[in-house]
């Protein structure tokens, strides 16, 4: 878990405005996991709908597979997000195992040994952080929302991401700001982010 102040104090803010054809370059960050600040001690459903602004219909129909701390979840109203939790979100998946992992699916019993069970019921709502992972169709649908909202990525992960981007990615960037100041991409390409930061607060605007 990351303390709110620790995150803010040690983060550089990188903002990128980019052409939509290069959205897939962010796949690795989105599927590997990123950190967001939010209120914890609430249910998964409350986090998704009340804080992330997703409609209940979208959550029910689209986010059919959810893992909390690596365990498949059936009941999103009783499963509670804690400070430092890891939440992975996926659409419906193929294969017997894909069907098995579905929330309250007909084959849920096949993975009963790892199913998430909420042990306590009294949690206090408070500020905290959650690691989010987005998979498959949800990466494309929710990725732009989270990137616009802002995500925290570790400095090493961000440096790796920046150094591996090809020239055409940088040419598709309409605006690059580091701590609100324009920066030339060659500095980022060589991973010359200020070395003293532990985190990068990344915001990305995907142009339509």
């Amino acid at each position: 878990m990351q303390n709110k102040n620790t995150l803010d104090d040690n983060a550089k803010h990188l903002h990128i405005t980019i052409d939509p054809t290069h959205f897939s370059n962010f796949y690795e960050i989105l599927q590997s996991g990123f950190i967001v600040r939010c209120r914890v001690g609430v249910s998964i459903k409350a986090l998704l709908c009340e804080q992330f602004g997703l409609t209940p219909e979208y959550v029910v129909e689209r986010i059919s597979t959810i893992f909390l701390d690596g365990k498949p979840v059936d009941d999103i109203e009783s499963a509670i997000i804690k400070d430092g939790s890891r939440l992975a979100l996926s659409a419906a998946m193929p294969g017997l195992v894909g069907a098995t992992m579905r929330r309250e699916g007909v084959y849920a019993s096949l993975r009963s040994s790892i199913t998430y069970e909420e042990k306590h019921s009294n949690y206090q709502s408070k500020e905290g952080t959650v690691t989010i992972k987005l998979f498959n169709l949800l990466m494309e649908e929710l990725g732009p929302i989270f990137l616009k909202r802002g995500i925290f990525v570790t400095f090493p992960a961000m440096a790796t991401f920046l150094t591996k981007q090809p020239d055409n990615f940088w040419k598709a960037c309409k605006e690059i700001l580091l701590d609100r100041k324009p920066v030339v991409y060659s500095i980022l390409q060589k991973s010359n982010l200020p070395a003293q930061c532990d985190w990068v607060f990344l915001t990305v605007l995907i142009l339509n």
Binding site: M93, G95, A99, T100, R111, S113, F135
Partner: protein, 578 residues
């Protein structure tokens, strides 16, 4: 599709062809037909590479029609890998072409004297069998190229690579796709070795001048196909996830669940998973000018395959599937997608089951023959198989043999067949199917078919753990039935969730044949197929002791959940109580 073609490869004076009506096998197709023939005509105690074994190649009941998703072809025999009955199926074009030519099955029987290689050409005018030793030890790609030069590009091929010629346990049978590339394989169980033992290198099918199979009730068939196709297109899995990312979309899910076998089933999570996920693979294919959405045969509306280009934008292989990416990737600690794609190409060309090869290489890594993560070493091992070196022949004989030769305890096999990409300690229900299916560890033996709609064996509460035995039974019954239709198992998701799509599937069969098939009939067919297969295995010497997972699954917890396989042996023995 009203006749069966038998070719006795061991007949005096050379291969002898007999064409006869279906007879006792009327009404069967795909797995139903292959298992019926093997069960009835192959002595269970025969050596799988002897003249007594048969290789039965059968399109499905609806292959060769205008029906969507009807292009699977089944290959059945006594397996040299498991010693039991085997049905392995593949996509590609041959199923449709063979069915249009009117054949419900090709049966390769007997065994030729000497070591001549044969090619079999079948078109509307008949069958021509010739020796062609120029094909010896050619890869599947070169073999198909030679066939194109000889017969033109309006053909479909069923062939074996060097692995089949060497009669290795991991040898597959290749089927060409819509672009006439040998990329779709009946991979499991060493069916390629049986084809090799018959001396048959390639079967060339040409349906020029023949038309599509016509249904008894064309209007109702067309309507059923429309509803069926719409059902597939509107479903989230068959209409969106599979076309966009292919089967490898499962990597992230299994990894997150802690059920992604890593480092030869030592761990349940792979740190490099996101580098080889379906999402990453699809983006890479698009970036390099390949195709992330591609059908393996004409008439497929799901299009879960793709084209994988190398860094220079040239074709390298078809989109490696989830099982392949796992077997050569996470299982071996390899997170380089290009190296995995190269291994996929080599497996296809040499004619090898990607699951068996990947697992065998992982077992070799466990033995210290090479290090986990050594991608170049893994590629070289596959090349050794292609060359037929002693080491290559060991690896090409599969994971069980490799484990024995190198003294490895943790060998993930059931009935001698390597386990696919789901750890049965994390997903215990799939372990029940791995253990008990007559085929050996097989993820497709109990698929997510509409057991809830069929209510096979009664309703099972999905949230109670004690339902796992019943669910596995029901899934195996339903899967055996679908495998007999020649339909791709990926229709499972749409027919599982949408009753009208399931009904449309039944209507396709009924309007084509003039039948009134019901859900109960589907269940009866599945039971009949499984009963034949189990009976064959029992006569071959199998007992309940073979319906078990390797002991390490009960004794070695797998992180991150640190769970072991908990299903009791006596419960496994109840799977086929119906």
């Amino acid at each position: 599709m009203d006749k069966i073609l038998r070719i006795n490869m061991g007949a005096e004076g050379g291969p002898k062809v007999t064409v006869a009506p279906f007879g006792d096998y009327a009404g069967l197709g795909g797995r139903g037909l292959t298992s019926a023939v093997v069960s009835k005509e192959v002595p269970p105690d025969c050596h799988p590479l002897s003249d007594a074994n048969k290789l039965v190649i059968a399109p499905g009941l609806l292959s060769g029609t205008a029906g969507s998703m009807t292009g699977r072809i089944s290959m059945g025999c006594k397996s040299p890998l498991t010693g039991g009955i085997k049905e392995s199926n593949a996509g590609g074009q041959p199923s449709q072409v063979l069915a249009r030519l009117g054949y419900g099955a090709i049966m390769l029987e007997g065994k030729p004297e000497g070591d001549d290689l044969y090619k079999i050409f079948i078109n509307k005018d008949g069958i021509r069998i010739t020796t062609d030793n120029s094909l010896r030890m050619l890869g599947n790609y070169d073999t198909v190229e030679k066939m194109k030069k000889e017969f033109g590009d309006k053909i479909a091929c069923i062939s074996i690579g060097p692995a089949g010629e060497m009669k290795l346990n991991a040898a597959s049978v290749a089927c060409t796709d819509a672009e006439l590339r040998p990329t779709r394989h009946a991979g499991r169980g060493g069916v390629g070795a049986v084809m090799g033992s018959k001396g048959v290198k390639v079967i060339v099918l040409d349906d020029t001048g023949v038309s599509m199979r016509q249904p008894k009730d064309p209007d109702k068939f067309r309507e059923a196909n429309k509803v069926f196709t719409e059902g597939l297109r509107k479903h989230g899995v068959t209409g969106e996830a599979l076309p966009a990312y292919g089967t490898n979309v499962l990597t992230n899910i299994l990894n997150e669940a802690g059920g992604y076998p890593t480092y030869n089933f030592k761990e349940g999570r792979f740190i490099g998973a996101s580098k080889i996920s379906g999402e990453t693979e699809a983006a890479l294919e698009t970036e390099r000018g390949g195709v992330p959405t591609h059908a393996c045969h004409r008439g497929c509306v799901i299009r879960c395959s793709g084209i994988y280009n190398d860094k220079d934008g040239h074709y390298l292989t078809k989109q490696p599937e989830y099982e392949t990416v796992w077997a050569h990737g996470g299982h071996c600690g390899i997170d380089d997608m290009d190296k995995i794609a190269m291994m996929d190409f080599l497996d296809d060309d040499i004619g090898l089951d990607t699951i068996e090869m990947g697992v065998a290489i992982g077992v070799a890594m466990e033995a210290g023959l090479l290090k986990f993560g050594d991608a170049d070493g893994a590629i070289n091992l596959i090349k050794e198989v292609g060359k037929g070196t002693p080491l290559g022949r060991i690896i090409g004989s599969g994971a069980a043999i490799t484990g024995r030769v190198f003294g490895v305890e943790r060998v993930p096999v059931v009935k001698g067949q390597a386990m696919p990409a789901y750890d049965p300690r994390a997903i215990q229900g799939i372990g029940v199917t791995y253990a008990t299916t007559p085929m050996g560890a097989d993820h497709t033996a109990g698929y997510a078919i509409a057991t809830n709609i069929l209510r096979v064996g009664g309703f099972v509460d999905p949230l109670k753990p004690e339902g796992q035995i019943d669910l596995s039974r029901n899934l195996q019954i339903a899967t055996a039935a679908i495998d007999s239709t020649g339909m791709c198992l990926f229709i499972a998701f749409a027919i599982m969730d949408q009753p009208e799509t399931f009904q449309a599937m039944l209507d396709l069969i009924n309007t084509f044949y003039g039948l009134s098939f019901t859900g109960d009939d589907v269940v009866d067919l599945g039971k009949k197929v499984l009963k034949m297969e189990r009976d064959f295995n029992m006569r071959a010497g199998f007992t309940k002791e073979q319906d078990r997972l390797p002991p390490f699954f009960k004794t070695q917890p797998v992180p991150p959940h640190n769970v072991t396989f908990q299903v009791k042996d006596e419960d496994l023995d109840k799977v086929f109580n119906w």
